[in-house]
């Protein structure tokens, strides 16, 4: 009898705990929907707590799988070797060209006394995990706010832009790749100088949107960040234009996503912003005032608006 009593009491407690947990989790989901930044911070804290601890268990599995895929690539080692030789020859040609250009450049700079923009500082991190979800493209880095990483900073590998930081904890931070659907980067197409937006869509070739003259964007043209919006520093290489079979304009990312291991997070020093238009032409014209009324200056209506070509 006594055991039956404690059994039913235990069951009641259990039912309460189950209900409470379900309620808390559901509330967490609602809260995530309403106040996303706070819950995302909670998520980053949770990740910061667990993922680095799991790394010792992950490392052997990762290494093992990599060895297998490396072995597969040994099978094609001969073709790879030939390819690399050809590439090396072409690169030597380019190296010569680059050296000559560098010398010319240095001479011209010396002539011009150019002010270079403040150089970018950077911190290098290792990508420790994948996003693990087919719906978002991101990775977790082993550097965090203690290393000076901030939200919105750009990350590059040796070749090109990889993505931006979104979510920082003490020791880890999340890097959202350019291929993620939430990634939209203002860009310039070189050499035409057209502006565009590079919009990720879960592929390695994000779309290029909002181009003025799509016919002028030819395959092979380079796409670099424009620096508009102040999130990314300008002139980081994104990739080159390709055309999809449907005629869409896309950009083939320059960063090597297949062998991504270390990334550089750029710490752009904040640049001075130019606000307003200087006070050379008299008092500032308030925008709220209707056009037919003389604008107020120090509470007194002005006699006539200062216009160019006004004759008196």
């Amino acid at each position: 009898m006594a055991t039956e009593q404690t059994g039913s009491a235990w069951r009641a407690v259990r039912r309460l705990v189950v209900g409470l947990t379900l309620f808390i989790f559901f509330a967490l989901f609602i809260l995530w929907r309403i106040d996303s930044p706070r819950v995302e911070r909670f998520r980053m804290a949770l990740i910061d707590r667990f993922v680095p601890n799991m790394e010792w268990a992950l490392a052997p599995v990762t290494q093992f799988t990599r060895i297998i895929s490396d072995y597969q690539s040994y099978a094609q080692i001969y073709e790879r070797n030939q390819e690399l030789r050809q590439e090396l020859q072409r690169m030597k040609g380019w190296q010569e060209a680059a050296l000559q250009l560098e010398q010319t450049n240095a001479q011209l700079r010396a002539l011009n006394n150019v002010q270079l923009s403040p150089s970018l500082g950077f911190v290098t991190g290792e990508v420790i995990t994948d996003s693990g979800s087919p719906f978002s493209q991101s990775g977790l880095l082993n550097v965090g706010s203690l290393d000076g990483v901030l939200d919105g900073q750009a990350a590059v590998d040796g070749l090109g832009l990889v993505g931006r930081i979104s979510g920082v904890a003490d020791h880890t931070s999340r890097l959202v790749f350019l291929s993620d659907v939430s990634s939209q980067v203002p860009a310039i197409i070189r050499p035409t100088g057209q502006k565009a937006i590079v919009h990720g869509d879960n592929t390695l070739t994000p779309k290029v949107l909002f181009i003025d003259a799509p016919d002028d964007a030819l395959p092979g043209m380079r796409v670099v960040t424009s620096g508009d919006g102040g999130v990314f520093p300008p002139e980081l290489l994104i990739g080159q234009i390709v055309r999809a079979r449907t005629g869409e304009i896309r950009v083939l990312l320059a960063a090597d996503f297949e062998g991504l291991e270390f990334v550089r997070i750029l710490r752009a020093s904040p640049q001075d912003q130019i606000n307003g238009n200087g006070d050379l032409v008299g008092a500032e014209i308030l925008e709220d005032v209707p056009l037919y009324e003389p604008p107020l200056v120090d509470g007194v209506p002005m006699e006539a608006p200062p216009q160019r070509g006004d004759d008196h």
């Binding site: 559901f26 909670f42 993922v51 996003s131 693990g132 493209q137 659907v181 879960n202 297949e258």
Partner: protein
């Protein structure tokens, strides 16, 4: 007294395997967008385990694992966890009758639960104006997860030795011993 340490052993084992199931899709192997979504191993593990030994996969342990999985895998936090907990409680409620009716029955119950979970997840995402998921992708996901389930069952049965209690000496519902 002989049973108690064994139960704790199995709980620890469940925790370890659960953590591995969460860690598996985030291994830094490829950063290119995958063509197939990763199957939800935590779901397969939990369901197969609860059908066999519900007492060694306690509710709070599943809750903790589900929450970590949601956080680490960048899903809407708490959503899949709630669904997984509800499904596991459903199975726990009727684990005995599922055990008695054989593997096909178990497989179809779990498949039905998964489909309901996926539909509910999408419904809640749509209701809350979140970014909902493509139907094709969700079908792939459900299919892959269900393909993983038998593998998980075999793994649990032969390697981890999580088995249903021996049926021969247990009285059935009428009290007869078979």
């Amino acid at each position: 007294m002989n049973i108690a340490p064994k139960i704790w052993l199995y709980r620890a084992l469940y925790l370890l395997l659960g953590l591995l199931a969460i860690a598996y899709p985030i291994l830094p192997l490829q950063f290119t967008p995958a063509r197939w979504p990763a199957p939800e191993l935590l779901f397969a593990l939990t369901m197969a385990w609860v059908v066999r030994q519900p007492e060694s996969a306690p509710f709070l342990l599943i809750a903790g694992l589900a929450l970590i999985a949601d956080a680490v895998l960048m899903r809407p936090i708490g959503l899949w966890a709630v669904l997984l907990l509800m499904a596991s409680e459903t199975v726990r409620f009727s684990y005995r009758s599922i055990q008695d009716r054989g593997l096909m029955m178990e497989f179809s119950v779990v498949a039905a639960l998964l489909v309901v979970m996926v539909i509910l997840q999408n419904l809640l995402l749509v209701i809350s104006f979140s970014q909902s998921l493509e139907v094709g992708r969700m079908l792939q996901f459900a299919l892959l997860t269900m393909l993983c389930y038998p593998v998980m069952v075999v793994f649990l049965h032969y390697i981890v030795r999580v088995r249903k209690p021996d049926n021969t000496n247990r009285p059935d519902r009428l009290g007869k011993i078979r």
